[in-house]
C-alpha cells in the first residue's frame, strides 16, 4: 500500500486537481487500456475519442444498513456505462455501507464509506483497491500538500447527546492517518484554498439547533484559526481560486430557515451579503467545475412536503456572485423528465450536465445527461442512491 501511494505521488506533482490535469491533456485523446474493459456495460452514448476525459465516476451511497454502496462509471471513449465496477474488479468485495463522497487525486479515487469507518482508495484506471484507511464516520475528503483531509462525525469529545466532529489528516506518502483535530458538530463538506487554509462546513445535523459555522483551518499548524457563522446546517464547500471566494451551501433548518448558498471572502474571512436573487437560491445539491460558475439544484417547495417538488437549476456566476440563469425542471426546457435530483456534475470542457436521480433512495437510481442547453441526451440506471460524481482524466 505504502509503495502504491508513493508511486502515485511520484506520478504527478500537480495537485490542482482536474483543471490542471486537463489543460495538459488537451486534444491528446486517451489511449490507455484497463482491465475493467472486460466488464459488461451498457452503451448509453456515442463514444468520444477526442475528449481528454477518461471516465465519469458515479458513487452510489446505498441504503444504510444494507452494505450496498457501489461504484459505477461511464467510459467516454466507448460511451459505456459499467455498474458496480469496484466490486467486480475486487473479487466481489463490497465497498461497504453508505459511501458519502467521491474525490479524485491524481489517478486514484477516494471514497469515504461512512458507516464502514473506512476511507477507501482505489485506482481510477481500473478500480482495483489501493488502500482501506480506518477513520470513524468519514464524510468528505479534500487534498492539500501531501495530505488528504477527511471530515468525520466522530470527535473524541462528547457529552449528553452532543458530540463534536473531527478533521483527520492522512499522509499521502504512506496512507496512514497523521492526527486529527476537533471541529464543529457533524462536519460535512471540506475544500482546500490556495492560501494554506482548509474550510470545513459544520452541519450539526444530529445536534439540537444545528451548527452554523464554517471552520477555517490552518493546514500548516493543523489547527482551527477561525469559525465563521454562516447559516444553519452547512453542507458543501467550494473554493474559487480565481476570485478568492469560499462558497458554502446550507440545508436550512427544515422549519423556518430555508436552504441556500453563501460566499465568504477568503482573504479576510468575512461573509459577503447575497443579493436578492442569490438569497432566493434553494439548495439540494451543487457543483463547482472550475469554469467560473456554480451549478446548484434546489427545490422551491422544500418545506411543502405534501405538494409536488419544484426543482430549479441555478447557474451562478462566481465572480459577480449573481444568478445568471434559473431553469425550472417542470418546464419544457428540461423535457418531461420527472426526477428527484440528488447530485450534479458538470463537464467544464463542453458544459455537459449530469444529474443523478436517487428515486426513492432505496432502489436503483439513474443518471440523466443533458447538454449545456439542457437538451436531454441519455439516461441510465445506477446503483442505489447515486449521490456523488467525479470526472477523471488520466494523469501521466
Amino acid at each position: 500500500m505504502k509503495h502504491k501511494i508513493s508511486l502515485l505521488v511520484c506520478a504527478c506533482v500537480l495537485s490542482a486537481g482536474l483543471t490542471g490535469c486537463m489543460k495538459d491533456g488537451e486534444n491528446s485523446g486517451v489511449t490507455i487500456t484497463s482491465q475493467d474493459e472486460t466488464l459488461a456495460g451498457i452503451v448509453v452514448t456515442a463514444g468520444d475519442q477526442t475528449t481528454p476525459l477518461y471516465k465519469l465516476f458515479v458513487v452510489n451511497e446505498g441504503q444504510m444498513g444494507t452494505n450496498n454502496a457501489s461504484v459505477d462509471f461511464l467510459r467516454f471513449k466507448d460511451g459505456k456505462y459499467v455498474l458496480n465496477s469496484y466490486s467486480q474488479m475486487n473479487d466481489g468485495a463490497a465497498l461497504g455501507d453508505v459511501a458519502n463522497d467521491c474525490k479524485i487525486y491524481l489517478n486514484s479515487v477516494w471514497v469515504p464509506v461512512t458507516n464502514s469507518g473506512i476511507l477507501e482508495v482505489f485506482s481510477a484506471v481500473n478500480e482495483i483497491k489501493i488502500a482501506s484507511i480506518t477513520i470513524p464516520s468519514p464524510r468528505n475528503v479534500a487534498f492539500y500538500g501531501s495530505y488528504a483531509y477527511v471530515t468525520s462525525y466522530a470527535g473524541a469529545v462528547y457529552g449528553g447527546e452532543n458530540r463534536l466532529g473531527a478533521l483527520y489528516k492522512v499522509d499521502l506518502n504512506n496512507g496512514q492517518t497523521a492526527g486529527n483535530i476537533e471541529v464543529g458538530y457533524q462536519p460535512e463538506g471540506i475544500a482546500a484554498g490556495e492560501n494554506g487554509h482548509l474550510y470545513v462546513a459544520n452541519s450539526g445535523g444530529y445536534t439540537a439547533g444545528y451548527d452554523n459555522r464554517l471552520s477555517i483551518i490552518n493546514a500548516t499548524t493543523f489547527s482551527v484559526e477561525k469559525d465563521i457563522e454562516v447559516a444553519p446546517n452547512l453542507k458543501e464547500v467550494f473554493y474559487d481560486y480565481d476570485n478568492d471566494l469560499v462558497w458554502v451551501t446550507s440545508m436550512g433548518n427544515f422549519n423556518d430557515v430555508h436552504s441556500g448558498i453563501y460566499a465568504i471572502n477568503a482573504l479576510n474571512g468575512t461573509l459577503l451579503a447575497n443579493d436578492e436573487d442569490l438569497a432566493a437560491v434553494r439548495y439540494s445539491c451543487a457543483t463547482f467545475p472550475y469554469d467560473g460558475y456554480l451549478y446548484v439544484i434546489g427545490n422551491d417547495n422544500e418545506y411543502d412536503w405534501t405538494g409536488e417538488p419544484a426543482y430549479n437549476l441555478y447557474k451562478i456566476n462566481s465572480s459577480t456572485r449573481t444568478v445568471e440563469k434559473k431553469v425550472s425542471f417542470s418546464t419544457s426546457e428540461f423535457g418531461d423528465n420527472h426526477i428527484a435530483p440528488y447530485g450534479i456534475c458538470v463537464n467544464p470542457l463542453d458544459g455537459t450536465i449530469y444529474i443523478s436521480d436517487a428515486g426513492d433512495y432505496k432502489t436503483p437510481g439513474k443518471v440523466v445527461c443533458y447538454d449545456k442547453n439542457l437538451n436531454f441526451q441519455w439516461e441510465t440506471n445506477t446503483g442505489v442512491c447515486p449521490g456523488h460524481m467525479a470526472l477523471y482524466a488520466l494523469v501521466y
Binding site: G117, S137, G159, E161, A208, Y361, T363, P364
Partner: protein
C-alpha cells in the same frame, strides 16, 4: 392431556364440541366460536419451543421476522398484511404497543401456555371484546390452568452460552380456586458463528454484542369465571446491528437496550340466565425501553441515551343474549388510554384515547352458521406541538366502521367457511409524532380480506385421524403507511401511499395415530404485490420478505418412552425490497430441527437440535441466523 389437546385442536374444526375439551385445559372466556383457528399448536410440541415465535414459525401464511439469536427481535407477519395488523392476545386481552404496533413474540415463554391459535380473520366467539374484532389477523396465546397441586423446577441451557433456570408452583384451593407462580432467569452471551456471505468475504465471523440477561415473573389466579394475571419482565441486551463492512479496528455495534414490562390483567364472566352472558376485562400496562450507544468504545456511533415509557389502561365490557335457540346477538365496548413519554429531544408526549364498540350477531341452524359484526373505532390523540410548545388535538381524531361477515357449513367431517372482513390499523405514535419523521396528518391503514376455506376431518379407524385444510384468500391493503424521503435523504416522513394486493393459498394435511405417531404438512403460496406507485421500479414486485412458496413438515414418533420430533421449514427466494432485482434477492433457505425427549417418573429430559445441517441463512437482510445449535432441558416435578 396430551391427546386431548391434539384432538381438541383437530375437532375444533368441526364445531362446538371441541371447545369443551379446550376449556378443561385453559380458560378461554368465550365459547361457541363459529370459526376454527386457521392453525394451532398445543401440547408438548408447544411447550418445548424456545419461545412463542419459535412455536408458530411452521404455521401457514405466517412469516416470523427474525433478527437472529437469543435476544433478536421476532415479530410476525400474517398473510402479508404486516406485523402491525397482527393482534397478539393473551387470554383474550391484547398486548398493545402504541409506539410502533409491533409485538416481540420472542419474549414470551411457552412454559405456561396450553395453546397458541392463529386466526386468519378474527376469533369469532360471540362473547368477546370489541378489540378482538379489530385486528386483521390474530394470534391468541392461551394460558394453561393448573388442575392439581404441583411444583416444577427446570433448567435450560446449551449453545450461545445459554443458561435459564426457572420454577413453577401450582396450588388448588377450595372451589377450584387456583394460584400459580412462575419465574425464570435467562443468561446468554448469544454468540454464534456465521459465514460472512457478502461477496468476496466468505469468512467465518462471530456475531458479537449479542448477550442478554432477563428475568421474568408471573402470577396467575382465578376460578372458572374469573382470572387475574400479573406479569413482570426485565432485560438488558446488546443490539448487534446489521452485518456490514466495518474497519477491523472499529466494533460493529456496542448499542444496548434495556426493557421493563409490567402488566396486570383480569377477566370476569357471568351467566345471568342461560340466555344472557356478560364478560368484563381490564388491563394496566407499563412498558419501558431504554436505548443507548457507547461512543467512547464505538466511535462510529453518535451519543444516544434515550428512553420511552408507555402506559396503557384498558377496559372492556361485553354482553351476549340468546334471542332464539339459534340466534344470538352481542354488544361489546372497550376503552383504552395510551401515553408515551420520553427524554428524546423535541418529544411530543402523545396521549391517545380509543373507544371500540362492536355489535355482532350469529345464527346457527343445523349445519349452517353465519355471523356478522360491525366495529366502530374512534381514537383521539393529544400531543405537544414542539415548535409552539402548546398541547394540541387538531386533526387527531380518527374513526372508522369496519364490518365483517362470515358463513360456514358443517357436515360430519366437512366444513366450508367463508369470510369478508375490513380492518383498520391506527397510525402508531412513531408514525405520527416521531421527531421530524412523524406526520400527524396520517390516516389509518385499511385492509380488506376475502377468505374461503374447506376442512376435512375423518377417523380412519379408532386410532387414526386424518385432517386436511385448503384455504384461499385475497387481501387488499390501502393507505399503507410508508416512510419516504422528503426534501432529501436527511429528511424522511410518513405517508399513506402504500397499496398492496395479496393472493394466497394454504394447504395443510395431518395424520395422527394415537399419541405415538403424527405428521403435519403445511404449504403456503403468497403472491403479495406492491401496487403503490406505477412509475416506480417496485410496482408489481413481490413485497419485501414475503416468499412466494413456503412450507413446513412436523412429525413425531414415540418408541419405548422416547419421543422424537422433527421439524423442517422451507422458504423460497425472497427480496429485501419490492424492487425484485438481484441486488435485493435473498436466497431460499431451509432448516431441519429435531428434538428428543423422555419423561422418566418425575424427570423430563429433552434435547433440541436446531438447524442440524448448519444452514447459513438470514431472514432479515444483514442479520445472519445461527447455524447448528443445541439446547438441553431438564425438568423435575415435585
Amino acid at each position: 392431556m396430551r391427546l386431548t389437546a391434539l384432538i381438541a385442536a383437530i375437532l375444533s374444526a368441526s364445531g362446538v364440541y371441541a371447545q369443551e375439551a379446550v376449556l378443561r385445559e385453559s380458560h378461554i372466556t368465550a365459547v361457541r366460536s363459529v370459526i376454527a383457528p386457521t392453525d394451532t399448536i398445543s401440547g408438548s410440541r408447544l411447550r418445548s419451543a424456545t419461545d412463542a415465535a419459535d412455536a408458530i414459525r411452521s404455521f401457514t401464511g405466517l412469516q416470523v421476522k427474525d433478527y437472529g439469536g437469543v435476544g433478536g427481535l421476532k415479530t410476525i407477519n400474517v398473510r402479508s398484511l404486516g406485523s402491525e395488523h397482527v393482534g397478539v392476545f393473551i387470554d383474550g386481552i391484547r398486548i398493545d404497543n402504541a409506539q410502533n404496533m409491533q409485538v416481540d413474540l420472542g419474549r414470551f415463554s411457552t412454559d405456561n401456555l396450553s395453546s397458541i391459535e392463529l386466526y386468519g380473520g378474527q376469533k369469532s366467539a360471540i362473547l368477546q371484546s370489541a378489540v378482538e374484532y379489530g385486528s386483521a389477523t390474530a394470534v391468541h396465546l392461551i394460558s394453561d390452568t393448573p388442575a392439581r397441586n404441583a411444583a416444577t423446577v427446570r433448567v435450560r441451557g446449551g449453545s450461545f452460552g445459554t443458561l435459564s433456570p426457572s420454577f413453577r408452583i401450582d396450588r388448588i384451593f377450595r372451589q377450584h380456586l387456583y394460584v400459580t407462580f412462575d419465574a425464570a432467569l435467562t443468561y446468554s452471551d448469544g454468540r454464534y458463528r456465521f459465514h460472512d456471505n457478502y461477496p468476496g468475504h466468505d469468512t467465518v465471523m462471530v456475531r458479537t454484542n449479542t448477550d442478554i440477561r432477563s428475568a421474568r415473573a408471573e402470577a396467575r389466579m382465578g376460578r372458572k369465571t374469573w382470572h387475574l394475571h400479573a406479569y413482570a419482565y426485565d432485560s438488558e441486551r446488546g443490539l448487534p446491528g446489521p452485518v456490514v463492512r466495518r474497519a477491523s479496528a472499529l466494533p460493529l455495534s456496542l448499542d444496548r437496550q434495556s426493557d421493563r414490562n409490567l402488566f396486570l390483567q383480569g377477566s370476569w364472566r357471568h351467566t345471568f340466565t342461560s340466555a344472557w352472558d356478560i364478560a368484563l376485562k381490564g388491563k394496566l400496562t407499563r412498558d419501558y425501553i431504554r436505548y443507548r450507544t457507547d461512543p467512547e468504545h464505538d466511535p462510529q456511533s453518535m451519543p444516544i441515551d434515550v428512553y420511552y415509557r408507555q402506559h396503557q389502561a384498558y377496559t372492556s365490557i361485553a354482553t351476549s343474549i340468546r334471542l332464539t335457540p339459534f340466534w344470538q346477538a352481542a354488544i361489546a365496548s372497550d376503552i383504552q388510554y395510551n401515553t408515551l413519554n420520553s427524554n428524546a429531544r423535541d418529544f411530543t408526549l402523545p396521549r391517545r384515547l380509543t373507544a371500540f364498540s362492536a355489535i355482532s350477531t350469529s345464527i346457527s341452524k343445523g349445519p349452517l352458521n353465519a355471523s356478522a359484526s360491525l366495529l366502530h373505532t374512534i381514537a383521539a390523540d393529544l400531543f405537544r406541538n414542539t415548535s409552539a410548545g402548546a398541547w394540541t388535538r387538531t386533526n387527531t381524531t380518527r374513526r372508522a366502521f369496519t364490518p365483517s361477515l362470515m358463513a360456514s357449513y358443517t357436515s360430519n367431517s366437512f366444513t366450508i367457511n367463508a369470510f369478508v372482513k375490513r380492518s383498520y390499523r391506527l397510525p402508531s405514535f412513531n408514525d405520527l409524532y416521531y421527531t421530524i419523521v412523524g406526520n400527524s396528518l396520517l390516516s389509518p391503514e385499511k385492509a380488506t380480506q376475502y377468505n374461503i376455506s374447506a376442512r376435512f376431518h375423518t377417523n380412519i379407524n379408532a386410532n387414526t385421524a386424518v385432517t386436511a385444510r385448503l384455504e384461499a384468500y385475497h387481501n387488499r391493503m390501502r393507505d399503507k403507511i410508508v416512510a419516504v424521503p422528503t426534501v432529501n435523504q436527511f429528511r424522511w416522513s410518513m405517508y399513506n401511499i402504500g397499496r398492496a394486493d395479496i393472493n394466497g393459498a394454504e394447504a395443510q394435511f395431518s395424520v395422527r395415530h394415537d399419541d405415538t405417531k403424527g405428521i403435519d404438512i403445511r404449504y403456503t403460496y403468497q403472491q403479495a404485490l406492491d401496487h403503490s406507485n406505477k412509475k416506480s421500479l417496485t410496482y408489481g414486485g413481490q413485497i419485501a420478505y414475503i416468499p412466494l412458496h413456503s412450507g413446513s413438515v412436523n412429525a413425531d414418533i414415540t418408541l419405548h418412552g422416547w419421543r422424537l420430533d422433527i421439524t423442517t421449514v422451507l422458504t423460497s427466494e425472497r427480496w429485501s425490497n419490492s424492487a425484485n432485482i438481484k441486488d435485493y434477492r435473498i436466497a431460499p433457505w431451509w432448516t431441519l430441527d429435531a428434538r428428543i425427549s423422555r419423561t422418566i417418573g418425575r424427570i423430563t429430559l429433552r434435547a433440541d437440535l436446531k438447524n442440524i445441517f448448519n444452514k447459513q441463512y438470514c431472514v432479515v437482510q444483514g442479520y445472519p441466523m445461527p447455524g447448528f445449535n443445541i439446547l438441553g432441558y431438564l425438568g423435575y416435578d415435585f
